[in-house]
Assembly symmetry: C2
Homo-oligomer: 149 residues x 2
């Protein structure tokens, strides 16, 4: 989408790259989703299972931090995963404010089945870039992301 911005070339360049950045992510995400590699899960549900799979059980607030979502959002997503029997809330013994979330056997079986397929699909999407280009991209993104946010 051309932004047609007529001012400062620095601003025009930044707007252009920002649009490219958001559209690239949208584009890749939609192609990944179309492949159905997340099974019957939504993106966020997949994210929750994946984090629990790789990092183990954790409190909801920590889950919110990892996934960059609000606590209210995590409450709902965990609710929906719990209804489907994929995760379980376990009360913390030492701090009764905390409810720890963990995978059920069904949740573990599901993420073990679909994660490799998802990883493979991501690899195929990024195969248009050489290893060096991927490293370069990672460096540029690190500079952009590291700003306190």
């Amino acid at each position: 989408m051309p932004t047609h911005y007529q001012g400062d070339p620095q601003i025009a360049s930044a707007l252009d790259v920002w649009v490219k950045l958001t559209r690239a992510v949208d584009s890749i995400a939609s192609r990944l989703s179309a492949r159905g590699t997340t099974g019957s899960l939504t993106i966020t549900q997949f994210g929750v299972l994946e984090v629990l799979y790789h990092l183990g059980p954790m409190p909801q607030c920590e889950l919110a931090g990892k996934l960059l979502k609000s606590s209210g959002n995590i409450t709902l997503v965990v609710d929906n995963l719990e209804k489907r029997g994929l995760v379980r809330r376990v009360a913390d013994e030492h701090d009764r404010r905390i409810s720890r979330v963990e995978l059920t056997p069904a949740g573990l079986a599901l993420i073990e089945e679909i994660f490799p397929k998802h990883a493979q699909a991501v690899a195929e999407e990024f195969s248009v870039l050489t290893p060096q280009e991927q490293h370069q991209l990672g460096d540029l993104l690190r500079k952009l992301g590291k700003r306190g946010g």
Copy 2:
């Protein structure tokens, strides 16, 4: 977030870059949002006004295409903008299926006020990259995005 993936280094690298990519976008978007440069508008509402501002009145289906959203979504967002008097639906004379969306004077005034601030904020976010690095990033993203999606 480390993905801790133990397999093919090609897959590990792709997952790593994919995580960096989504997190960079999340991070920048949340900082832009925190600056309040979109005024009292949501991201999508801002997007609609911005497209109408730069490209002129257009049917909802075209708006959906530009913003990569579903038609049902656009219906709702335009509804909300219309309630606030920022846009207007105008029936197409030649094709009664189409309702063209255009800025009202209030909508024009608003986007004319906030867009430059938003553009400035985006420029500041991307000022951590040199012009050459921005160009490099644009090239890499173009390769990633161009895949039919």
